[in-house]
């Protein structure tokens, strides 16, 4: 088989590039596919010539690389494996049918080897995908939560996503610092974007509110959606005398009233 890969290199490689390029449906250019596959082709050839040698290891490493980069480009694991499997078809089309039983047995072995390589990309793909997801989750957590000024004397803290201790610490410190810097009397903590409030999140919220109180500021918690309200009640969490509002708008209105501001519509003015 390695003989055929060498003697018909241009034809087989060319056909493989063609098959794979079709499969990418425009997400990769033929040139990109060609350079990727030319490298693989050489490694497959080497691995077949010397199965126990170092090339076999290099081949797997190269496949793993390709699999990872495909995962990042958004290819499905099937697409990545199918690209590898396409080599079988390219080879098959280039068999001249003169080798008889020996060539047939040879092709079956070759085919089994390629299957194994294709399946290996599957596994790498799954791992790579998980890594991508983990990275994204980390990035989301790392996005520092902004504390914004809603009005003179009123800060807004929109919380989005998972609140863990590390992140809450950052939010709390930023908010307290800004309360001090701006001399604000109100902070509206909006939890519309928080998917679930458990005892840990609740404890963080309570601590933040207490700390703000020590600085003479009042926190209003807004955006408690019905499903969150049910859960908080069932857990037995008590927000005590902390003011809660269903929407950020209500909370802002409350804080403005408390600051002695009145909102007039154009006709009243």
């Amino acid at each position: 088989m390695s003989h055929l890969l060498r003697s018909r290199r241009d034809a087989v490689l060319g056909r493989w590039v063609e098959l794979v390029t079709e499969g990418t449906r425009g997400r990769m250019t033929e040139g990109e596919v060609r350079s990727e596959l030319t490298e693989l082709y050489g490694l497959v050839e080497g691995a077949l010539t010397d199965p126990g040698g170092t090339t076999a290891g290099e081949l797997r490493a190269a496949l793993a690389d390709i699999s990872r980069s495909r995962a990042r480009q958004g290819f499905s694991p099937t697409e990545t494996a199918v690209a590898v499997f396409a080599l079988k078809r390219a080879v098959h089309e280039n068999l001249d049918g003169t080798g008889g039983d020996a060539a047939y047995a040879d092709f079956i072995d070759f085919s089994a080897y390629i299957d194994e390589l294709g399946l290996a990309t599957f596994e790498t793909y799954a791992n790579a995908r998980e890594q991508v997801i983990a990275d994204q989750a980390e990035q989301l957590l790392e996005l520092s939560t902004p504390v914004v000024k809603l009005w003179d004397g009123i800060l807004g803290v929109p919380l989005v996503g998972t609140l863990d201790s590390a992140r809450t610490q950052v939010v709390m410190e930023t908010m307290l610092q800004l309360l001090a810097d701006t001399g604000s009397r109100y902070a509206v903590i909006d939890i519309t974007g928080v998917p679930a409030v458990d005892t840990e999140v609740a404890q963080h919220l309570l601590k933040t509110v207490m700390a703000a109180r020590l600085m003479g500021a009042e926190c209003v918690i807004s955006g408690i959606r019905p499903q969150i309200a049910h859960t908080i009640a069932a857990l037995g969490i008590e927000f005590g005398d902390i003011v809660t509002k269903s929407s950020l708008a209500d909370a802002l209105a409350y804080a403005m009233r408390g600051s002695g501001l009145r909102v007039l519509s154009g006709t009243d003015a």
């Binding site: 989750a137 499903q227 857990l235």
Partner: protein
């Protein structure tokens, strides 16, 4: 009867707690739970996963779709650890009791968030908490 395991994963760090929440959220949504019940089971799982991590020193969770009497469907979640165990189960379930500085609402609250709750623990051996929520 248990059908179709939806997932099994280790709990050994804070990001695993986040993953458990996501796994349960997905399983509950695809099983057809209402938004309120999804949030309840996710919150319960969050509490138990954190207990497994913080008090149990890490462990694992298994999530299964399950079918009960009269063909009702639900989600069963089992948390297991080989940690220190709980010496006094009754005390652990008291609202507001915590051996650390938590709110002490995790176990007692979780019991109210789910339909079935079982707590097994052997000091020195570990703890297993099983919860089931049925689809209404």
């Amino acid at each position: 009867m248990t059908i179709e395991p939806a997932g099994e994963m280790p709990i050994s760090g804070n990001d695993d707690v986040v993953r458990v929440r996501q796994l349960v959220r997905t399983a509950a949504a695809s099983a057809g739970f209402s938004l309120v019940d999804q949030t309840k089971i996710v919150t319960a799982a969050s509490e138990l996963a954190r207990n497994t991590l913080v008090h149990g020193g890490g462990g694992s969770v298994g999530i299964d779709q399950t079918v009960g009497d009269r063909g009702k469907h639900g989600l069963r979640i089992v948390f297991t650890d080989r940690g220190p165990g709980i010496p006094d189960l009754e005390q652990a379930l008291v609202e507001g009791w915590s051996s650390g500085n938590g709110l002490g609402l995790g176990l007692s609250g979780t019991r109210r968030l789910v339909d079935e709750f079982s707590l097994e623990s052997e000091p020195g051996e570990g703890t297993t908490v099983t919860v089931v929520k049925w689809i209404r």
